[in-house]
């Protein structure tokens, strides 16, 4: 099965995307993971990135490519992506947990410190995490940024949260 048949990428497919930093780059710094691979006519991520880490170029249907060495993990591309296909990953902690930033457009918003269910790309619950921060800003245009601590080994598996309430 592939994303075209059941709607979601497998981990192997994500790792092969030009928008996915190498495992080494991911361990070195907080970075964006761009899960976009289908030649859509779209480029707001490129414009959003002031660090020049994301390239779409011409034609506009090019799949976004990341230069992880330039990415400072600021997350602006994540809130500007109309497809909600970008996630920020911080694997630099040393407590066995990773911090994941997710674009979130549901109400109610989770609260800081709240324990939430973690879902994978297929929507299956794979564990539990803790919300560290929920950010909203005019610049984000009503897409909230939810920061959640997840078990390190699930950092590339978890892509959504569900509230227990």
């Amino acid at each position: 099965m592939s994303i075209l048949e059941d709607g979601y990428f497998t981990l192997e497919e994500v790792l092969a995307l030009p928008g996915c930093p190498s495992p080494e780059a991911m361990r070195g710094r907080r970075v964006a993971v761009v899960e976009c691979g289908h030649e859509l006519p779209c480029n707001p991520c490129e414009t959003a990135c002031k660090a020049g880490a994301l390239t779409v170029g011409t034609p506009i249907t090019n799949v976004p490519k990341i230069d992880a060495a330039c990415c400072d993990g600021c997350g602006i591309c994540m809130v500007d992506c109309p497809g909600l296909a970008i996630f920020i990953l911080d694997l630099t902690r040393d407590d066995g947990r990773a911090e994941l930033w997710l674009p979130y457009e549901f109400l109610p918003l989770p609260e800081m410190g709240e324990a939430v269910l973690l879902r994978d790309r297929a929507g299956s619950v794979v564990g539990e995490g803790q919300v560290t921060k929920v950010r909203q800003a005019k610049r984000f245009d009503r897409t909230a940024v939810v920061q959640v601590l997840v078990p390190e080994e699930l950092a590339m598996t978890v892509r959504a949260i569900a509230l227990r309430r």
Binding site: G7, L40, D120, G123
Partner: protein, 373 residues
Amino acid sequence: MKQAEIVVIGAGPAGLSAAAAAAQAGAQVLVIDENAEPGGQLFKQIHKFFGASEHRAGQRGVDIGHELLEEVEGLGVEVVLDASVWGIYDGSTVAVASQEYSWRVKADRIVLATGATENGLSFRGWTLPGVMGAGCAQTMMNVHRVLPGQRVVMVGSGNVGLIVAYQLLQAGAEVVAVVDALPRVGGYPVHAAKIARAGVPIYTSYSVKEADGDECVEKVTIWRVDDRWQGVPGSEIELDADTVTLAVGLSPMAELAWVAGCRFLHIPELGGHVPVHSAYMETTVPGIYVAGDVSGVEEASCAMEEGRLAGLWAASAAGRLSVAAAVAAAAPHEASLARLRSGPFGAAARGGKLAMDGRRDEAWGQTLTRGGA
């Protein structure tokens, strides 16, 4: 009789863009729409649009709608609402029915921007309350603030189906399944990924077999379809659902082009019968232009660019803009359209418009059963 240099029929993304472009060129523009509010479907589009950054990509449809409306109002365009255009005579007299009276307007140029209508799908139980178009569900949620149902089966995985499924989740409904008879997700994979990770199962190569219930939908049965589109007995899955939303395509709403005598071609990639039009968006009836879904079903971002082109060329034909100035003004919109239609997801529109160009002679030779000329 009322007079207008350019009458635009339909105040959606295409119509408002046409009105803005024509008014900017100095034309006197009248926009007529049968709805109580302008904006067409734009104000229901609460998601961020795709496209190029310099053309409003990343902005939400509803905000683009407000901006367009402000632009049109600032240019002094007259917008008449709650008024249905029911006829076009001699290519220039527009017949309108308002709530309490009928009136006519003599137009030098006409832009048809009437949009599209949702396709239906018949299955056993399809007339039960709870079966509705995806656009209907979207109107209930995003305009009237009414949740159409608690447990929804979305039929169709094109962008409309995927986006409305996401909006149903945002509104608090549970989307039990998205089904599509095709073997592949039809819309942008990133839209599919958004609902998949929220826990919505997507069944490709599945169709609705039947909906059951005494007075409304209580259960929906889906089944796998084989490569000849036949349901496979034994593959049935019963879903506990109270709502079925249909997102199985759109057809151009082209009745006014028919009555005006425009020639048509049947181009499946563009949604069915479309009025043949030139690169200037002019139909085969001189002075009548088309833009947006009525000229071939595409995304709203394309409708806005086509609207700009139709408005520019109508204003130019009305003597408000030299051809050279119109060519220059049209160039960025043509470039933007080409970008929006590029890549695999633009192939249908790209191919459809090309097919129309290639079959232009056939359109001239056709025998019309409706309309004039």
